[in-house]
Amino acid sequence: MQKSWRHRFHLPAVIGTIPMILVAVGVFVIGIGFSVLWSFTSSKLFPTYDFVGLAQYRRLWADNRWLVSVNNIWFFGLMSITCNMVFGYLLAVFMDQRIRQEDLFRSIFLYPFAMSLIVTGLVWQWVLDPNLGLQAALRNWGWSSFSFAPLVDADTALYALVFAGIWQGSGVAMAILLAGLRGVDEEIWKAARVDGIPTWRTHLSIVAPMMKGAFATAFVLQCVSVVRVYDLVIAMTGGGPGIATSMPAVYVIQLITVRQNVGQGMAAATMMLLPVLVVLAFGGILTWRRNRQREAGA
């Protein structure tokens, strides 16, 4: 019995994970704690500790730009995650057809992931620029009535962001889903063919539901990048035209660096954490309950 404790806290394991402990506790718990703390202060340029209660939150939610940002992130998130998944899945399906030059295609679909979002934003901004890009080029080639300038219009600029997001992110979705697709038992395909089920139907009703793991991974990755979407917006639209493409992350940075209102910036950042916290807690409870059930059932 005497060694039981040592077995439970195996010393080298604890030592080996000291970096993890430091990061998890030191950075993510304490750091975030401070950020939340500052959101209750009137910090301007530098963090201070004169507490003002919920004043910063009240100002935050009275700010039109924040409201627009929140709307935008939902729209952008839903659109880009759905599109990336669908497009990524399509690509994966086509890649899975024993095609020639698979390596080449895969490299092409994946390389945008290696490009920084700044570059992505700049290039697409340029392609979509009506005077220099696509529109000008097509008009120069004689299609003078051609009109395509999504970044100019407040109503369409967000779509352009989604579009660039797809360019950057669907390759990774493809890679993950392709791995998932290859993991599906080949006999399922055969069974479906024998049953006379059309291919698209097999994908929709049978295979896609079987790839939960791959979809979950892809989904989590996309969510991470959606929450953090900053570079892309800055490089492509700078939040404009007007405030049409402002996002919470952009908003937070603007508050901290330009508006020099750290308190309110931290309030906004805290608000950004909330949904993540809720989702994670929900997921945690789910797994915990599933474990409990499995233990009870065993």
Binding site: G26, I30, I32, I108, A114, V252
Partner: protein, 311 residues
Amino acid sequence: MTAGQITEIQPAQQAPNQAGVAPFGPKPRRISAGRIGIYAFLIVAALFFLIPVYIMIVTSLKGMPEIRLGHLFNLPGEPTFQPWADAWLHACTGRDCFGLSPGFYNSVKITLPSVAISIICASINGYALTFWPYKGANLLFGLLVFGAFVPYQVVIYPLIIGLSSVGLFASLPGIIIVHTIFGMPILTLLFRNFYAAIPVELFKAARVDGAGFWRIFFYIMLPMSVPITVVAVILQVTGIWNDFLFGIVFAGRSNWPMTVQLNNIVNTTTGVREYNVNMAATILTAAVPLLIYFISGRWFVRGIAAGAVKG
């Protein structure tokens, strides 16, 4: 003689009016139509993905007057490599006009140790979490995963204060620590999933052989982690190489990475913009991650299959 041979004869005897039935040639149509569709889709998609590189390359070879004409997709009328030379050697950022080359070495200086250290940390984490879970380890892991969702900016302020209090702010070790911190959540997740798929028996066998925590890690697990390490390397190299925000804040003036210089060349508040130089500079900056990608893309997908799908 044998039964096997007898069966071979039978059908020949049974085969009826062979002349009457059309020879059952291959049934080719299903193949071609579908295949053409597949390739058409893939090629169109590939073109979509390639547009930006094409434009970057073409533009980087044009002169500014030609660019202003707006013939974005045209090949350069008078190709010139001047923009490339400018970008690498002459472009000014402030009063230094040495192009991107100095930043390149800084980026290497930052990226190599950051990648190595973050991967070592993450692999130890994943290993410990899988094979030596102590009480509370999974809670730590949960916090770490939560960290993956935290917008960087939220923790920048506390990090600045924390690092400066230990005297590492604005230094090479400082930026390396920061990259290690922010790489840890996803990498740990990857390694944990990967190790979870390794048979426990291997671990048990090593313990029976008398190996301890570190020896099992270095002699048994690490050599087996090549596929997932490749994924981690790719993720980290691209992430760290492309990073601008941390580099400018935490690296310190003398260690500014290439991206800071790229930013200086590409962006200016009141100065003149030279698109061709910008594009050349962009390509040069992206070259390292791209190269790594093209070299190890095949491994990337394989590693993802090993470490990500089971998520």
